[in-house]
């Protein structure tokens, strides 16, 4: 047997509650993040990702308390993202009990931040979150660019080149979200995941678009990723983590 492929439920949190938007717009309430994390951990989730999508920075305290509460009850790896802008933000999250932090917009605005963070805290706790959107037209060779601000702002950065650059800066893992698929339930952007996963030496987590269990399998088998992240299919009880693992195992994927 070998290293298991990971299933990572993602908690998008706003003002201390789990929410999950469709294409970042339609917000539905999915519960208390501590209870939700505990439930996923008990069910056999391999890691938990907590993304703070609260727009203002006034609620940092809420986030830190939530992370502390999750970390004192959940003994699997915990990644925290959203609003990580300074080394001090990383230090605070690690101190609160996070094992890794996800850096997104700040990496685009200041790529050197990723380098400093990896040097200071070690690559193992630096996840670079990449939001990519297809920019090639039908008939053209596939091409994706990095977008920020919830997919509204183009940066002109080529996604594959950006991923490679982040690895050379010391990223330990890539959390790759397709902005075209996020919230659609149409499955991962497999071509995007595959091209990036094959281009980098570090683990890639596929995100954005999971609507059923076959999508998780497709991400691993065709997208060649090391881990799959999903939110709404788990939050609203459509599928449980054990069901997901059973299904993946039945398709020949090694799971815990």
């Amino acid at each position: 047997m070998s290293l298991a492929k990971r299933i990572i439920p993602c908690l998008d949190c706003e003002n201390g509650r789990v929410v999950k938007g469709v294409k970042f717009l339609d917000i539905r309430d999915a519960g208390d993040p501590v209870e939700v994390s505990k439930r996923y951990c008990d069910q056999g989730a391999d890691e938990i990702t907590f993304l703070d999508i609260t727009a203002s920075s006034d609620n940092r305290e809420t986030t830190i308390h939530t992370v502390e509460a999750i970390a004192s009850q959940v003994f699997i790896p915990l990644t925290v993202g959203g609003g990580i802008r300074k080394l001090e933000d990383i230090r605070m999250m690690l101190r609160a009990g996070a094992d890794k932090v996800a850096i997104n917009t700040s990496a685009v605005l200041n790529p050197e931040f990723v380098k400093e963070a990896a040097e200071k805290f070690g690559s193992q706790c630096i996840v670079v979150a990449i939001d990519a959107k297809q920019v090639s037209l039908p008939g053209e060779p596939l091409r994706w660019e990095i977008f920020t601000h919830g997919g509204r702002k183009a940066t002109g950065l080529d996604a594959v080149e950006w991923a490679k650059r982040m690895v050379s800066y010391g990223a330990g893992e890539i959390l790759l979200t397709s902005m075209d698929r996020d919230g659609t339930k149409n499955g991962f952007d497999l071509a995007l995941n595959r091209i990036i996963s094959e281009a980098v030496s570090i683990p890639v987590i596929a995100s954005g678009g999971v609507g059923n269990l076959q999508h998780l399998v497709d991400g691993i088998v065709e997208g060649k990723v090391d881990a799959v992240l999903a939110a709404s299919i788990f939050h609203f009880g459509e599928y449980s983590i054990p069901e997901a693992k059973e299904y993946m195992a039945s398709k020949g994927i090694v799971v815990r």
Partner: protein, 218 residues
Amino acid sequence: MNRIVVIDYGMGNLHSVGKALEHVGENISLTITADAQKIREADRLIFPGVGAMRDCMAEIKRLEIDELLKQAREEKPVLGICVGMQAMLSFSEENNGVDCIDLFPGRVKRFQANLSDENGDRLKVPHMGWNEVTQTAAHPMWQGIANNSRFYFVHSFYVVPDTSQENSAKIVGESSYPLPFCSAIAEQNIFAVQFHPEKSQNVGLQLLKNFLSWDGEL
């Protein structure tokens, strides 16, 4: 009162291991410190670590933690975790070569680049996620943990103990990625693991619980 010290030499996140110990421990007093006196007084030591070996060893030497661990080897149970385990060997290939504590003869090597699995898919480094640990020797620390249980790993380097010498560590756990590597060693009062028990859910918590009651005897 079971006095536990998590040795803090400034490298990485010690809160996770502290929280996990508090979760499983009854009647423990937990201190996270580099203070030599407190380390000498403790009943049990946890020696964690993350980050680059050169920085780790610089702090370990500056704080004289290497000497305290050599003493502890004879006196009280020590649990090494991840880079803490690696630092116990003689030498690491990380950062162009670093001399380590040399509690046990052996080297720390990096996983090869461009490894692939049985399907020909690229294996990533760091080795990150849940992998099986085969218990290659019986040990009180494995009590209540099924053989080949999966633990959480995150590392790019692994230990290759030289088991031929008198003061060698014994390999008590093995994993593969894709070739077999040593994931747990033991000798006298020391037990050390490459994986993170504090992040390995029930099996990891069981290992920590075992440590709290292990008296250092085999």
